[in-house]
Symmetry: C2
């Protein structure tokens, strides 16, 4: 099953992928859907209604405006330095504990949205597998954590390296508004065998810059969820980003960063593809215009 969140004239709605497009569901986003104990019944009932109505209510794929796969997660937890090959090629030792940092729900953006960054000239890419939590987890072991994975999607932990390195803590370079695409859909875990291996790739203007296999993660999805749950309860709709393989721009010689107009593509076999065009705005052009009045921006 593939779940998504669509923007509509009335806000956002959860949806399920059907042959003819996206079928909206009774929930504000896929995270709120997953928080319903009987969410599968909600989906099945909607599919039955659709079948009885000969497909009425379906949003055609070309007309769908994809929001972040979940829009209001209570927690977005990200892991750095997590690909074995990349760590070893950098001459580092494998870590004993995952390096974790947070983003905000506001940091997320849609699979095809324009990413507008103001005040950074070191915008870098980090193609990542994202895990969406389906059950509450508190001091879980790995088997319980694996069981609690609702599904998987594609993310790019777009990072403003100049801001990230202003201080020892990365947050300010990682949590720009609307900078982390998440989507296009959540493919539910039951579509895969246990502990699946995903192949992920990142492209800039069509040029392959990153590729990796999640089988080489130091801390795989279940391990990460279990670890996080020993200090912070995870809840349905929460998102965990699992880290990025080698090939980021700041590691290139010379370093390479995204330019205004660049197209960043992130794809994972079996999960889908994000395609985000980058817009850079100089720092000087600041504005105190509230975000609620900035709806007219191109996307």
């Amino acid at each position: 099953m593939k779940l998504a969140t669509l923007r509509t004239s009335k806000g956002t709605t959860a949806a399920v992928v059907v042959d003819s497009g996206f079928l909206p569901l009774e929930a504000d986003d896929a995270g709120a859907l997953l928080a319903q104990v009987n969410w599968r019944e909600t989906v099945e009932a909607a599919l039955d209604t659709m079948a009885a109505g000969h497909g009425a209510g379906v949003v055609a794929e070309a007309e769908a405006d994809l929001a972040p796969a979940v829009t209001r997660p209570g927690k977005v937890v990200c892991c750095g330095l997590n690909y074995t090959e990349h760590i070893l090629e950098m001459g580092r030792e494998l870590p004993e504990y995952p390096t974790l940092f947070a983003k905000f729900a506001d940091s997320l953006t849609g699979a095809n949205d324009r990413i507008t960054v103001q005040g950074s000239d070191r915008v870098d890419w980090e193609a990542e597998l994202a895990v969406v939590v389906g059950k509450e987890l508190h001091h879980a072991n790995e088997a319980e954590a694996a069981e609690a994975i609702a599904g998987y999607c594609v993310a790019n932990d777009v990072s403003m390296r100049d801001w990230q390195n202003r201080t020892l803590q990365w947050l300010q370079g990682k949590a720009f508004d609307d900078s982390t695409p998440l989507g296009p859909v959540i493919v539910t875990a039951d579509e895969f065998e246990a502990n699946p291996n995903f192949s992920l790739r990142g492209y800039v203007n069509g040029e392959l810059v990153q590729s990796g296999e999640t089988s080489t993660l130091v801390f795989g999805p279940a391990s990460l969820l279990a670890y996080i749950s020993t200090f912070a309860t995870l809840r349905p709709g929460d998102v965990v980003l699992t880290g990025t393989p080698g090939g980021v721009g700041s590691g290139m010689k010379p370093p390479r960063f995204l330019a205004d107009g660049d197209v960043l593509t992130t794809e994972i076999d079996g999960l889908g593809r994000l395609e985000n065009t980058i817009t850079l705005i100089p720092a000087a052009a600041t504005s105190s215009q509230p975000a609620s009045e900035r709806q007219g921006e191109p996307r």
Copy 2:
């Protein structure tokens, strides 16, 4: 005006402090109240109704169960290394940018709650001034940010130093569930002159361990809010913790940490006092019991 959030049999409610206790208001918490454009009218109307009803509906102070001052902030942003005297006494240079990290809404706890920490034996204290946001801020200047401060409260950025230092990113030592007391009330900014100086103190079992003046902050409240707003939009109910002065346990020789049963007191003149008893649980005693079934815990 003093705002608070109370736990009730039906969840939580915003409340305003009155002579006889706390008057509940039509909002789930003080953050949701502040998100109402006309929240002052909501409060005034409730006060009028109370006066007409001779105080009916007021919760006596002794019966009030204080939740975190705001319970569901979209952002909790914390600043480290922010007190001039402490930085200079440590022989460091004043920073050009604030060191920022995040907590989760779930990291917060009430002013008088027991703080239960599992799996850490280096639980340290950080008495802090907290600022609650009252208006949406995006690329704000300092004057706009000052204007958007809804009020102030007391916080303690209780930090599990062993977890904090497992990796370069502090999150996992800072974001334990229910570890950061926030309250007891939000004193609205109109109760103070512009850019007020607050005196804050921290005590362990009644012994003074920290004291500071917020006039010595490198980045004051308005400066912090303005800076954060250049990358992440701040919204009503969001919380910013402004950092801690010298006197934390890990800086003592020898280092000192909280023991099971210790009472941690945090107070700021004009804002109030937090008093939290610490319970430490060994790491081995893990459990997969979901948080929703742990309501019977002593508090």
